[in-house]
C-alpha cells in the first residue's frame, strides 16, 4: 500500500544520504522524496512516498526513527492529511493544439508560465494522482519535458509534526 511519510531531520550535510542509503540498503521503495529546510533553518522537512506491506512500513518508520539525525517521523497516511506536488510540464503547442492545451489546463487549474512559438510550459500543483491524470490528458506525444518535485505532505487540522 502507498504511504506518505513525513520527517523532521537535522539540516546537516549527509543527512539526506542517510535516509536515501537506509532505503536502498534495506530494499525499501522510494516513489518520491522531497526535502527542504523549515522555518527553523537547522531543521529539514522531508516527505517520502513509499509502498510496502504493513510490516515493511512499520520497519521503515522504526528504521527512520533510529537514524540519529532524524528528530521526528509521522506516517501521514495513518490519518487525515493533505498532499501536493508541483509539476512543470513543457508541451508542444502549435496552432489549434495551443488552444486545446489552454482549455485542458484551465480544467486542471494549471498556470501558463512560459510560451514560445512552438511550446507552452504549464505549472500545476495538485495531488500526485491529479498530476498523473493531467499528463494522460495531454498525451505523451506532445509532452517535451516533465519536472515533478515529488509529493509534500502535511496533516489536517491539529495534526502537527513539530519539535
Amino acid at each position: 500500500m502507498r504511504h506518505i511519510i513525513s520527517l523532521l531531520m537535522e539540516n546537516e550535510a549527509g543527512a539526506l544520504s542517510r535516509v536515501a542509503g537506509l532505503f536502498s540498503a534495506r530494499g525499501y521503495n522510494i516513489e518520491s522524496l522531497a526535502v527542504a529546510p523549515t522555518e527553523d533553518p537547522t531543521l529539514s522537512r522531508m516527505t517520502i512516498v513509499t509502498s510496502g506491506s504493513d510490516a515493511v512500513i512499520e520497519q521503515i518508520n522504526k528504521q527512520l526513527n533510529k537514524l540519529i539525525d532524524v528528530a521526528a517521523v509521522m506516517d501521514l497516511s495513518e490519518g487525515e492529511h493533505l498532499e501536493r506536488e508541483l509539476m512543470l510540464v513543457k508541451v508542444r503547442a502549435e496552432g489549434k493544439a495551443r488552444e486545446e492545451l489552454k482549455r485542458k489546463m484551465a480544467v486542471f487549474n494549471g498556470r501558463l508560465i512560459d510560451e514560445s512559438d512552438r511550446t507552452c510550459t504549464v505549472e500545476l500543483t495538485d495531488t500526485c494522482a491529479k498530476l498523473d491524470e493531467f499528463l494522460q490528458v495531454i498525451g505523451r506525444d506532445l509532452i517535451l519535458e516533465t519536472v515533478r518535485t515529488g509529493a509534500s505532505g502535511i496533516g489536517r487540522g491539529e495534526r502537527i509534526l513539530k519539535l
Binding site: 549527509g14 542509503g21 540498503a25 520497519q59 522504526k62 533510529k66 540519529i68 539525525d69 521526528a72
Partner: protein, 569 residues
C-alpha cells in the same frame, strides 16, 4: 590556553578515561600521533593492520563495559578498518573510531589517500561525523562517546581532516551533550511490563530466549533471577552465552542452526516465549513461516524498537533498557504474589527433559587415533576451570567452542556473531588481554581464520600479550566443507587449505612458543603446558579430524524442529 585539534582529540580521550587505543599511523593522522606521543595517559597499541585495530578495540569493549577506541589514517587506513567496524555494528559494540582525513581544502579533489570515510562507513556505523571546524572537535568526540555507549550501542566514526587537527582553539570538554533528535529509552512502559508478566504467569509451556542484549545491558543478574524465580527453561543465543549460567539445570543450551535439540524443540513448541535482547535472526529461527506454524505468544523486550517485529510477529513488545525492564518485571512479579502453575510447569519440564534425552546432549564419537576438535574444547574448558576469556574466529571451531565451553559468566565469550568475520579472534584477544591483565585468554581458531590476521602475532610480541592460541587445524575451511558435503554433493570447491605454513616455526619466528599436537593423548598435556606458561603466547596447532561435522544442525531455511542430529548415532 589554545590547543591544536590533535591535542584536543587526545585530551578528550583522557577525559573519557580511555586507557588504551589501537591504531596505525599515517599521513592524515600525523598531528594526532604527535599529540599522543607527548602524553602518557592514553597508551597506544600499534597493530599490524587496521582491521586488527578495530577488532582489538572491539574485544576490549566486549570483555569490559568500556568503549573501545581506535585510530586510523585516511584512505586505506579507514577502508581496512571497515570490516572491523561492520563487525562491531552487527553485534552492537560500543566503539569510537577516529580517522584522519585529507586536509579539508583538498576534500573532493581525489587527493592522495582520500576516501569518503563518512560515506563508506555510513551503513555500518551507529553514526558518523566529519569535523569541519576545530572548535567542534571536543563536542563531536563527546557526542561520539555518548552515542556509542547509550541506547543500543554501536560504533561511531569521527573523521578529522589533517588541517583541522593542526588548527588551534580553546579546549573545553563538555560535561554532557544533548542531541535533540536522539533520546535513548530507559524503563519500559509499565502497562506492557504488567501484561508481559501476566502472560508469563499464565503460560503452560514457557521458554526464555535471551540474546546478546542481556550481556550489553549488564542484565545478566536480573535475567538469572527472573528465570530462577519463574522456574522456566532458558536458552542463550550465540551472542548471549554466559548471560545465563550454562552450568544451571534450567539452561537448555544454545538455540538455532547449531543449537541443542532441546533448545530448538522448546523454542518451537512453547506457548509463551520471552525474548530478551535477542532478534530472531536467521541463524536462530531459520524459517519464520515454519516457526509461525505453532501458535505461541511472544513477549519481546529490546532497547531498539526496530528489532521488534522485524522477522516475527510480537504480541507484547516492551521497549527499554533490559536491565531496567527486567527489574520492573521482577517487581511486578513479586508484588503479584503469584507463581506459574506448578503442575503445568512440571509437565512442560518433563517434555523438555525428554527432548534432552532424545537429543542425547552435545556429543561426538571420540577417537584414540585422531584428535576430535570437540575433545580439545572440552579439555580447554577443564584446564582453564571454565573461567577463561575465550575469543574465536568464524567457522566450525567457533560453533564447537560455543557448544562445548560452558560459559557461566557474561563477557567471557567473545565472537563475531552477526557479521561472522574470520580474522576476528586473535586481534580481539589482544584487546581482551589488555583490559584484563593477568586473566587467562584463549583464542579458539582454525588454520583458515588465523591466517586472516596472523600478522598480529607481532603486536602480541611487542606488547607482551600471553594469549593462548588454540588452533583446530583440519586443513579445511571446515564449515564450508561441511556445507559442500551436505548440500553440494561432496564437491569441495576451494575449501581445502593447501600449502599451510609450519605454524610452530611461524610462532617461533614471531618470538612466541609453538606446539604441534598430533595425538589425542597429547591434547591434555599440551594444553596444561601451554596454560602453565603464564608469560608466553603459545600457539597450539592441533591436527584435528578433517571430516568432523558440527551437530546438531538446522539446515539453512529449515524450521527449528527439523534439526539433524549427529550421524554417528
Amino acid at each position: 590556553m589554545e590547543l591544536t585539534g590533535a591535542e584536543i582529540a587526545i585530551r578528550c580521550l583522557q577525559e573519557e578515561g580511555v586507557e588504551y587505543i589501537f591504531g596505525y599511523p599515517g599521513g592524515a593522522v600525523l598531528h594526532i600521533y604527535d599529540a599522543l606521543f607527548q602524553q602518557e595517559k592514553v597508551k597506544h597499541i600499534l597493530v599490524r593492520h587496521e582491521q586488527a585495530a578495530i577488532h582489538a578495540a572491539d574485544g576490549y569493549a566486549r570483555s569490559s563495559e568500556k568503549v573501545g577506541v581506535a585510530l586510523v589514517t585516511s584512505g586505506p587506513g579507514i577502508t581496512n578498518a571497515v570490516t572491523g567496524i561492520a563487525t562491531a555494528y552487527m553485534d552492537s559494540i560500543p566503539m569510537v573510531v577516529i580517522s584522519g582525513q585529507v586536509p579539508s581544502y583538498a576534500i573532493g579533489e581525489d587527493a592522495f589517500q582520500e576516501v569518503d570515510a563518512v560515506g563508506i562507513t555510513r551503513p555500518c556505523v551507529k553514526h558518523n561525523f566529519l569535523v569541519k571546524d576545530v572548535k567542534d572537535i571536543a563536542t563531536t568526540i563527546k557526542k561520539a562517546f555518548y552515542l556509542a555507549k547509550s541506547g543500543r550501542p554501536g560504533p561511531v566514526l569521527v573523521d578529522i581532516p589533517k588541517d583541522i587537527s593542526n588548527q588551534k582553539t580553546e579546549f573545553l570538554y563538555p560535561d554532557s551533550v544533548n542531541i535533540r533528535s536522539y533520546n535513548p529509552v530507559g524503563k519500559g512502559d509499565i502497562a506492557q511490563v504488567k501484561q508481559a508478566v501476566q502472560l508469563l504467569l499464565g503460560a503452560k509451556r514457557p521458554m526464555v530466549y535471551s540474546g546478546g542484549g542481556v550481556v550489553l545491558s549488564g542484565a545478566s543478574t536480573q535475567l538469572t533471577e527472573l528465570v530462577r524465580l519463574l522456574g522456566f527453561p532458558c536458552t542463550n543465543t550465540l551472542m548471549g552465552l554466559g548471560a545465563y549460567p550454562a552450568g544451571d539445570k534450567q539452561f537448555v543450551g544454545m538455540p538455532g542452526m547449531h543449537g541443542t535439540y532441546e533448545a530448538c524443540m522448546a523454542m518451537q513448541h512453547c506457548d509463551v516465549l520471552l525474548a530478551v535482547g535477542a532478534r530472531f535472526d536467521d541463524r536462530v529461527v531459520g524459517n519464520v513461516e515454519h516457526f509461525a506454524q505453532v501458535p505461541r505468544k511472544i513477549i519481546h523486550i529490546d532497547i531498539d524498537p526496530s528489532s521488534i517485529a522485524k522477522r516475527v510477529k510480537v504480541d507484547v513488545p516492551v521497549v527499554g533498557d533490559l536491565k531496567l525492564v527486567l527489574e520492573q518485571m521482577l517487581d511486578v512479579l513479586r508484588s503479584s504474589k503469584q507463581m506459574p502453575d506448578a503442575s503445568n510447569l512440571a509437565t512442560w519440564w518433563k517434555q523438555v527433559d525428554e527432548w534432552r534425552v532424545k537429543g542425547g546432549g552435545l556429543r561426538y564419537k571420540n577417537s584414540t587415533e585422531i584428535i576430535k576438535p570437540q575433545f580439545v574444547i572440552e579439555k580447554l574448558y577443564e584446564i582453564t576451570g571454565g573461567d577463561a576469556f575465550v575469543t574465536s574466529d568464524v567457522g566450525q571451531h567457533q560453533m564447537w567452542a560455543a557448544q562445548y565451553y560452558k560459559f557461566n559468566k557474561p563477557r567471557r565469550w567473545i565472537n563475531s556473531g552477526g557479521l561472522g568475520t574470520m580474522g576476528f579472534g586473535l586481534p580481539a584477544a589482544m584487546g581482551v588481554q589488555l583490559i584484563n591483565p593477568g586473566a587467562t585468554v584463549a583464542c579458539v581458531t582454525g588454520e583458515g581464520s588465523i591466517q586472516m590476521n596472523i600478522q598480529e602475532l607481532s603486536t602480541c610480541k611487542q606488547f607482551h600479550l600471553p594469549i593462548k592460541v588454540v588452533s583446530l587445524n583440519n586443513r579445511y575451511l571446515g564449515m564450508v566443507r561441511q556445507w559442500q558435503e551436505f548440500f553440494h554433493g561432496n564437491r569441495y570447491a576451494e575449501s581445502y587449505m593447501d600449502a599451510l605454513p609450519d605454524f610452530v616455526k611461524l610462532a617461533e619466528a614471531y618470538g612466541h612458543v609453538g606446539m604441534r599436537i598430533d595425538k589425542p593423548s597429547d591434547v591434555e598435556p599440551a594444553l596444561k603446558e601451554a596454560f602453565a606458561r603464564k608469560k608466553d603466547l603459545v600457539f597450539m596447532d592441533f591436527q584435528t579430524d578433517p571430516t568432523e561435522n558440527v551437530f546438531p544442525m538446522v539446515p539453512g531455511g529449515k524450521g527449528l524442529s527439523e534439526v539433524i542430529l549427529s550421524e554417528d548415532l
